[in-house]
C-alpha cells in the first residue's frame, strides 16, 4: 500500500489550503444555521414588516396609532439620523419608516389634514403596500368614529376600534401542504455542502494526481515491480477514502447542528444525496486531473468550476430567483440535480413519493460515470501520445 500512503502524504502537504475551505464551509454553515429561518406552520401567521417609528407628536391619538401598528409589524429601534435611517433601509433592517410629525393628532381630529404622516419605504415593495394598508385602515376607522359619534374622546374611539379589530376573517391553510418538519437551516447546510465538497475534492484529487502524473515519477513508478493495476487501484482507493471521510465529517457536523431535530427518513435521503454528489466530485476531479497541466492552474480551475456551478444552480441564491435561461443551462450540470434533490427532500411530506428524488440522484451518478469515462479517455489519449 505504498501508493495509498503516498497519496495521503501528498495531501498532508496541502492541509493548510484544505482546512481553509473546510473552515469557510463550517463557519458559514454555523452562521446560517444560527440565523432564524422561516418555518411553516398549521396556523396562519401574518408576515410582519420591519418598521421604524419616530413619534414627534404628544397626542393620545398618535400613541394609540403606534400601539396598533406595532402589534401588526415588527418594530425596530434605530437612531434618528439621516445616515442611519438610510443605511437601515438600504440593508432592509427596516422596510418602512414612519414619522408622526408634531401636531398630527390635533390636525387629524380637526380633520383639516394639514399635518400628514411621513413615510419612507422600499419603493414599490409589497411591504410598503402592506403597512400603507394597515395605517389607512386604522385612520379610516378613526375618522369614522370621530366623524359620526359627536364628542367621542380619543381613548373611547381607540377602545371601539380595538374591539372591532378583534374580529377577523377566518383563515384556513390547505392541509395537504402541511410540512412534516421544519428544515430551513438543514437544507442550507446541505446546499452549501455542494460548493465546499466540490472545492475540497477537486483540489485534493487533482493535486494528488498531478504529483503522480509527473513524467519522471511516472516513469520511475512504471519501472518499479508494482503492477500498474495495483498502482491505479491504490490511487482510486486513496481518493475514495478521502472523499468518504469528507462526506462523513460534513454529515456528522450537519447532524450535530440540527441536534437530531429531523426525522430519520429525511436525514437518510439528504445523506445519500450528498454521497451521490461526492462521487460526482470524484469523477470530475479525475477528469480535471488528467486535463490540467500545471499545479498553478489548479486553484484557478477549482474556483471557477466550483463557484460557477454553485452560482447558476441555486446553491447561494434560492432557485426561484434565478432566470429561466440560467436554470435551463444549469440543468446540464450535476449541481443543479443535487440542489433539486435537496429542495425536494426538505419539502418532503409524509405521503409524497420519493421517485423524483431518486431520479435526481441517478442523474448525478450518471454525471459521475460520464466524468470518469471522459477522464479515462483523456488519460488514454495522453498515454498514447507519450508512447508515440
Amino acid at each position: 500500500m505504498q501508493v495509498f500512503k503516498l497519496y495521503f502524504r501528498i495531501l498532508s502537504k496541502h492541509t493548510a489550503v484544505i482546512s481553509v475551505y473546510l473552515s469557510i464551509f463550517f463557519g458559514l454553515s454555523l452562521m446560517f444555521t444560527l440565523l432564524p429561518s422561516a418555518s411553516s406552520a398549521s396556523v396562519f401567521i401574518p408576515e410582519k414588516t420591519r418598521i421604524a417609528v419616530f413619534n414627534e407628536d404628544e397626542g393620545a391619538f398618535a400613541k394609540a396609532l403606534i400601539a396598533h401598528i406595532s402589534e401588526r409589524t415588527a418594530p425596530v429601534q434605530i437612531s434618528d439620523t439621516k445616515e442611519s435611517i438610510e443605511d437601515a433601509l438600504f440593508f432592509r433592517d427596516v422596510e418602512y419608516i414612519l414619522r408622526i410629525p408634531r401636531g398630527f393628532s390635533e390636525s387629524f381630529l380637526k380633520k383639516d389634514n394639514k399635518v400628514q404622516l411621513e413615510k419612507s419605504a422600499v419603493p414599490l415593495s409589497a411591504s410598503e403596500v402592506h403597512v400603507d394598508f394597515l395605517l389607512n385602515r386604522y385612520l379610516r376607522f378613526a375618522s369614522i368614529y370621530h366623524g359620526l359619534l359627536a364628542d367621542i374622546s380619543s381613548e373611547q374611539a381607540a377602545a371601539y376600534i380595538e374591539e372591532d379589530f378583534k374580529v377577523e376573517a377566518k383563515t384556513t391553510i390547505l392541509d395537504s401542504m402541511l410540512l412534516v418538519e421544519k428544515s430551513g437551516s438543514r437544507s442550507f447546510f446541505f446546499l452549501y455542502y455542494s460548493y465546499s465538497v466540490m472545492a475540497i475534492i477537486l483540489l485534493s484529487v487533482t493535486t494528488g494526481m498531478l504529483a503522480l502524473e509527473n513524467r519522471n515519477i511516472k516513469m520511475r513508478n512504471l519501472a518499479s515491480p508494482l503492477r500498474t493495476v495495483s498502482l491505479n487501484l491504490q490511487v482510486v482507493l486513496g481518493n475514495l477514502v478521502f472523499a468518504v471521510a469528507v462526506w462523513a465529517l460534513s454529515c456528522g457536523l450537519g447532524l450535530i447542528l440540527e441536534k437530531g431535530g429531523m426525522n430519520g427518513r429525511i436525514n437518510m435521503l439528504l445523506m445519500a444525496n450528498a454521497l451521490c454528489y461526492t462521487f460526482v466530485c470524484l469523477g470530475l476531479g479525475f477528469f480535471v486531473g488528467h486535463a490540467i497541466k500545471s499545479q498553478n492552474a489548479i486553484h484557478g480551475a477549482v474556483n471557477v468550476v466550483s463557484l460557477g456551478m454553485s452560482f447558476i444552480s441555486g446553491v447561494f441564491v434560492p432557485k426561484e430567483l434565478l432566470g429561466e435561461t440560467i436554470k435551463r443551462i444549469a440543468s446540464f450540470t450535476p449541481t443543479y440535480w443535487y440542489v433539486e434533490a435537496v429542495n425536494s427532500i426538505s419539502t418532503l411530506t409524509n405521503n409524497s413519493s420519493t421517485l423524483d428524488i431518486l431520479n435526481s440522484m441517478l442523474i448525478q451518478l450518471g454525471f459521475a460515470a460520464a466524468f470518469l469515462a471522459l477522464g479515462l479517455a483523456v488519460a488514454r489519449h495522453k498515454s498514447l501520445a507519450n508512447e508515440a
Partner: protein, 380 residues
C-alpha cells in the same frame, strides 16, 4: 532610466499569466456569475397585483358591500388584487396549484373565509383585506346602536379617501441591496492587487530571486528601481479594476450612480491601497513568496467577507455595532466608498472613506520605505 525599468517591469507583469488571472480575470468571472445569479434578487420584494380567487356564491351576489369593497381594492393604479370569479371547487383547485395567492369567500352571515396554501406577504395582505371587511361591518353595527341617525352617513365617510400619508424620499438611488455584492467584489479585486505589490517588492529583494540579486548589483538608485516596479504594478492594477467596473456597468448593468469622475478616482485609490498592502506584506515578512501569497489570500478573504461579499448585511451589522472595525478594514472602506457614491446625496461619508484609504496607502508606503531602505545583502 525610469522608463526603461518601468517598461520592462510592465512586460514582466503582463507575462505573469497566473497573477493576472487572479487580479484581473477572476474578479470578472465572479462578476459574471454574480450577474447571472443576482439578476432577479430584488424582484421578489416588489409588489405585483395579488391574484385572488373570489367564490361566486349567492351570498357574494347579494352582498353589495363586499362587492364594492372588492371592486375598490381591485381597481385604479394602486389596485391590490386581481380577482378571479369562480365556483368554490375551482377556487380550491386554483389555490392548490398555486396560481392564486389565496381564495376569499363570503358566507350567508357576512363572515369572510380565506383559504391559502402558504403564508407570505401576499396572503397577509389578503387577510388584512378580509379582516378589514368584517371589522367595518362590526363598526357599522356599533355606530348604528349608539347613534342611529349617524349611521346613514357611514357610506359617505367610507368613500372619503383622504391622503393621510405622504412620502419622503430617502437616498439618491433605489435601495438595491444586491449592488453591495458587486461593490465588495471590487474591493476584493483591489485587494488582489496585493499580488502585484508582493511581486514588486520581491523583484528588488536580492534574497528572493536571481533577477532581484542581479538588479541589486546594477548601478541604479534603489528608490528609482523600486519606484518603477511599483508604478508598473499600480498601472496594471488600476486598469484591471477599471475593466472590472466597465464590465459590471455595461455588461451586467450594475448601477454606480452618476458621479463618473469620483468612481474612477475611487477605483484608482482602491487599486493603490491593494498594491501598497501587498508591498507591505512583501517587505515585512522574510519568508518565501508562496507563504506571502497565502497570507494575502487569507487576509483578503477575511476582509472582503467582513465587507459583505458573501452576506451584504454583515457590512451593515459591523458598521452599526462595531464601527471601528469597518474603519480599519480597507475592503470595507472601498465597498463603503462605492456605496456612498451610489446611495448618498451628500459626499461627506464618501470623503471620510477616501481619506482613510489615502491614510492607509501613506502608512503602508512609509513602512515599506522604512524597511526597504535598510536592507543590505552582505552575502546570499
Amino acid at each position: 532610466m525610469f522608463w526603461h525599468l518601468f517598461s520592462y517591469r510592465l512586460r514582466c507583469i503582463l507575462r505573469d499569466k497566473q497573477t493576472l488571472f487572479w487580479s484581473a480575470a477572476f474578479p470578472i468571472v465572479l462578476a459574471a456569475l454574480f450577474g447571472l445569479a443576482f439578476s432577479n434578487l430584488d424582484s421578489n420584494e416588489l409588489f405585483t397585483q395579488i391574484p385572488v380567487a373570489v367564490v361566486d356564491n349567492d351570498a357574494y351576489r347579494q352582498s353589495n358591500a363586499f362587492k364594492s369593497a372588492l371592486y375598490s381594492a381591485a381597481s385604479g393604479k394602486d389596485a391590490l388584487f386581481n380577482p378571479i370569479l369562480c365556483t368554490k371547487d375551482e377556487a380550491v383547485a386554483l389555490v392548490e396549484e398555486g396560481s392564486v395567492a389565496g381564495s376569499i369567500s363570503i358566507g350567508a352571515d357576512g363572515e369572510v373565509n380565506i383559504l391559502v396554501k402558504e403564508t407570505g406577504i401576499s396572503q397577509t395582505i389578503l387577510k388584512a383585506f378580509g379582516d378589514s371587511f368584517v371589522q367595518l361591518s362590526r363598526a357599522f353595527k356599533t355606530i348604528a346602536e349608539t347613534e342611529a341617525q349617524a349611521a346613514h352617513k357611514f357610506a359617505s365617510l367610507l368613500a372619503n379617501e383622504a391622503a393621510y400619508i405622504k412620502e419622503t424620499k430617502l437616498g439618491a438611488e433605489y435601495p438595491n441591496k444586491s449592488v453591495i455584492y458587486f461593490f465588495a467584489l471590487i474591493s476584493m479585486a483591489c485587494l488582489y492587487g496585493s499580488f502585484h505589490g508582493v511581486n514588486a517588492v520581491s523583484s528588488v529583494q536580492a534574497n528572493q530571486s536571481h533577477v532581484a540579486a542581479r538588479c541589486n548589483m546594477a548601478p541604479v538608485h534603489k528608490l528609482l528601481l523600486f519606484g518603477a516596479q511599483l508604478s508598473a504594478a499600480l498601472l496594471v492594477q488600476f486598469i484591471s479594476c477599471l475593466l472590472l467596473i466597465v464590465f459590471m456597468k455595461f455588461v451586467i448593468g450594475v448601477q454606480f450612480g452618476p458621479r463618473l469622475f469620483l468612481i474612477i478616482f475611487t477605483c484608482a485609490i482602491g487599486a493603490s491601497m491593494g498594491v501598497m498592502l501587498g508591498a507591505l506584506v512583501g517587505a515585512l515578512l522574510k519568508q518565501r513568496l508562496n507563504l506571502k501569497i497565502g497570507i494575502i489570500i487569507s487576509l483578503s478573504m477575511v476582509l472582503t467577507s467582513l465587507a459583505g461579499l458573501q452576506y451584504p448585511n454583515l457590512k451593515y451589522i459591523i458598521h452599526k455595532s462595531l464601527p471601528l472595525l469597518s474603519y480599519v478594514n480597507p475592503a470595507a472602506l472601498v465597498t463603503d466608498a462605492f456605496y456612498a457614491l451610489y446611495y448618498y446625496e451628500g459626499l461627506e461619508r464618501y470623503f471620510i472613506n477616501i481619506g482613510l484609504l489615502l491614510g492607509f496607502c501613506a502608512v503602508f508606503l512609509f513602512v515599506v520605505y522604512g524597511v526597504m531602505r535598510r536592507q543590505k545583502y552582505a552575502s546570499l
